[in-house]
C-alpha cells in the first residue's frame, strides 16, 4: 500500500493539471505524479516557478535488502545460508509444490537464490563451448542484473532453474520480492551492475589446503573417487577459479578466510582451523566487530586461569590492516571450542557483535551444533556476520520509513 505525502511551499492554483502514468506494472510500487503549471505564477518570495514538478511516491514495503555471498560450495544449501536464515528466525525451505530440484530457499524474511540459475549454457552447452561453470561466458549477467534489480524494487520475477543433476535449465519458478534477498553463488560480485545492487557482500575464501581436506571428506566415500581424482579436479578448475572467482574478493565488504591452523605443526587434516574475518572499514550500516579496543592490535589467548581449554586451545588476534588497497579490520580465531563456557566467555569479550541479548551468538551456535564448523571460527564468524546483516537490515529499513519522499522545491 503506498502512502504519499506531498509537501509544497506554494499552493497550486487551478491552472495546474495532474497527469498520472496510464501504464502500471504488476506489483510496481513507484508511481510518478507530474504536475504541470500552465498559468503565470507570481511568487512573492521571488523564487522561480518550478515548471513540471515530479513527485515520486514509494510504497512502504519495497525495501528489499540484497546480500551477495560468493562461495564455491554449491548453492543455497551451504551452512552459511542456514546460519544466516536461522538468525532471522524460521527454517529456510525450498518452494513448496514447485520443482523438487529448485535451488531456491525461502523463509519468512529471506529468499536465497542460487546464481547457477543464471547459467546461459547448460552442461551440454558448456561442453560444446569448452567452458567451465566458473567462466563468465557460461552465465547470463544481463538477466541476473535485470531480475535482482526487479526484486529489489519489489517486482516478482520468473527465474530460471538450473538443475544440477540433469545439467539442464528447467522451466522458471516465480520468485516474489522478499524482505531480504540473498544471492549466493560463484559470481555475485563479478558484474559491476549487480555489485551496485548489493547492500552487503561476503566472500568465503577457503585456502587450497583446507579445500583439499574438505573435498576429501566430502568425496572419499564415493566409489568413483580417489585422492588423485579429487586433487585433479581441484587442479583443473584452479585457473578459472583464480581468474573469475577469486578476483571478486577485493569487492567484498567482509571476507571469511579459512586457513589451516598454526597451533598444530604440520597439521593436514583440516579439522582445526584458523579463520580470519576481514571487515572493510567505512561500509554503510556496518560497524566491524572488535576485541577490547577498536583500532588497536590485540593478541589474546582466552585459556588460562579463568578458562581451561583442551588441546590445541584457542587463540585470537585483532588488528587493522589493508586489503587490496582498502582499510580493514581483521578478527582472527585459531583453534576450536570444546565447551559451552568457552563460547560464552569469548562472546562476552567481543564488541560490536550486534546481538540483541547476551549470549545470542552462543545460543545460535548451540542451536545448530550439528552444522560443520560449529566449534570453530567458521561457525562463529558466520553467525556474527549473520547478526551484522540483521543489524544492517534494521538500519536500512528504519531509515527508509523515516523519509518517505521529498517534493521538489522551487
Amino acid at each position: 500500500m503506498a502512502v504519499c505525502t506531498v509537501y509544497t511551499s506554494q499552493s497550486f492554483n487551478s491552472t495546474c493539471s495532474i497527469s498520472t502514468p496510464t501504464k502500471t506494472h504488476l506489483g510496481f510500487h513507484q508511481k510518478q505524479v507530474v504536475f504541470y503549471s500552465t498559468g503565470k505564477r507570481t511568487n512573492k518570495r521571488g523564487s522561480s516557478s518550478c515548471g513540471p514538478c515530479v513527485i515520486t511516491c514509494s510504497a512502504g514495503d519495497s525495501q528489499t535488502v540484497v546480500i551477495g555471498l560468493a562461495a564455491d560450495s554449491g548453492c543455497g544449501k551451504s551452512t552459511f545460508m542456514r546460519r544466516l536464515t536461522s538468525v532471522f528466525g524460521g527454517a529456510a525451505e525450498p518452494p513448496k509444490g514447485g520443482n523438487p530440484d529448485s535451488n531456491t530457499l525461502i523463509s519468512d524474511m529471506t529468499t536465497v537464490i542460487c546464481l547457477d540459475d543464471y547459467h546461459s549454457l547448460d552442461r551440454t552447452g558448456r561442453k560444446e563451448k569448452g567452458v567451465t561453470a566458473l567462466d563468465p561466458r557460461a552465465n547470463n549477467f544481463d538477466l541476473m542484473h535485470e531480475q535482482v534489480k526487479a526484486l529489489k524494487s519489489g517486482i516478482a520475477v520468473e527465474k530460471p532453474i538450473y538443475n544440477h543433476v540433469t545439467g539442464l535449465l528447467d522451466p522458471p519458478e516465480l520468485i516474489k520480492p522478499p524482505k531480504i534477498l540473498v544471492i549466493e553463488g560463484l559470481h555475485p560480485m563479478f558484474d559491476e551492475r549487480v555489485r551496485d545492487l548489493l547492500d552487503f557482500s561476503i566472500y568465503l575464501d577457503i585456502s587450497n589446503e583446507v579445500k583439499f581436506a574438505w573435498k576429501i571428506q566430502r568425496d572419499m566415500a564415493e566409489r568413483g573417487h580417489s585422492l588423485e581424482s579429487i586433487k585433479a579436479s581441484i587442479e583443473a578448475r584452479k585457473p578459472d577459479f583464480d581468474a573469475y572467482i577469486d578476483s571478486q574478493k577485493q569487492y567484498a565488504d567482509a571476507v571469511i578466510e579459512v586457513l589451516p591452523t598454526q597451533l598444530i605443526p604440520d597439521d593436514n587434516e583440516g579439522k582445526v582451523l584458523r579463520v580470519r574475518l576481514i571487515m572493510k572499514e567505512g561500509v554503510k550500516n556496518f560497524s566491524p566487530v572488535y576485541l577490547f579496543d577498536e583500532g588497536s592490535t590485540i593478541s589474546w589467548i582466552p585459556c588460562g586461569r579463568k578458562l581451561t581449554c583442551s588441546y590445541p586451545g584457542i587463540k585470537f588476534f585483532y588488528g587493522p590492516d589493508t586489503y587490496f588497497g582498502h582499510e580493514v579490520s581483521i578478527l582472527e580465531m585459531d583453534g576450536q571450542f570444546d565447551r559451552l563456557d568457552e563460547l560464552i566467555y569469548v562472546e562476552s569479550h567481543l564488541s560490536n557483535i550486534s546481538t540483541k541479548f547476551y549470549g545470542e551468538v552462543t545460543q545460535q551456535l548451540l542451536k545448530h551444533a550439528d552444522f560443520p564448523g560449529s566449534n570453530n571460527g567458521t561457525g562463529l564468524f558466520q553467525t556474527i556476520v549473520g547478526l551484522k546483516i540483521r543489524d544492517l537490515y534494521e538500519q536500512i529499513t528504519a531509515s527508509k520509513t523515516a523519509a518517505p519522499l521529498e517534493a521538489t522545491k522551487a
Partner: protein, 136 residues
C-alpha cells in the same frame, strides 16, 4: 547407505501401504491399515541406518548420482590423458565437481536435515512411481 527392513508377522499385507492410507510406518512401530474395508494389522520393525531416502525417486537419484560420479571421473581421466591443460580436460573435471557436490548436497539433506527432497512433491502426488515408499 540406509536400508529399511519390513518384517510382516501375519503375512496378510501384500501391498506396501501408501501414505494416503496409513500413518508413516517409519515413525510408528505398529500401525493399522484399512484397505477397502479390510482391517489388517501388521507389526513392522524398522532398521534405518544413517539418513534414509524415504521415497523411491530419491533412492534412485542417489544411485544415479553415484553412477554418474564414477562415469564422469573415468571420462575426465580419459580426456585429460592427451593434454591436462586443454579446455576439454577442465570441463570434464568441472562436471565431476558439479555431480560430486550434487551428491553431497543430497546426502546432507537426508542425513543432517532428515528431509527427503521429494517430500513436498509426494504430498501432492502420492500415487506416482517415484513416490512409492522405498522398500528393500
Amino acid at each position: 547407505m540406509a536400508s529399511l527392513t519390513f518384517h510382516s508377522l501375519t503375512g496378510t499385507v501384500e501391498k506396501i501401504p501408501t501414505s494416503s492410507f496409513c500413518s508413516n510406518p517409519r515413525i510408528s512401530a505398529t500401525f493399522h491399515c484399512k484397505n477397502k474395508g479390510e482391517k489388517r494389522v501388521s507389526r513392522m520393525t524398522l532398521k534405518a541406518m544413517g539418513g534414509a531416502a524415504k521415497y523411491k525417486g530419491t533412492q534412485m537419484r542417489e544411485k544415479q548420482l553415484t553412477e554418474m560420479i564414477e562415469k564422469k571421473v573415468t571420462e575426465a581421466k580419459e580426456v585429460c590423458k592427451g593434454d591436462e591443460t586443454s579446455d576439454e580436460c577442465k570441463v570434464a573435471w568441472d562436471e565431476v565437481e558439479e555431480i560430486s557436490q550434487a551428491k553431497a548436497d543430497l546426502r546432507i539433506k537426508l542425513e543432517i536435515e532428515k528431509k527427503d527432497p521429494l517430500e513436498s512433491f509426494c504430498q501432492e502426488n502420492p500415487e506416482t512411481e517415484e513416490c512409492r515408499i522405498y522398500e528393500d
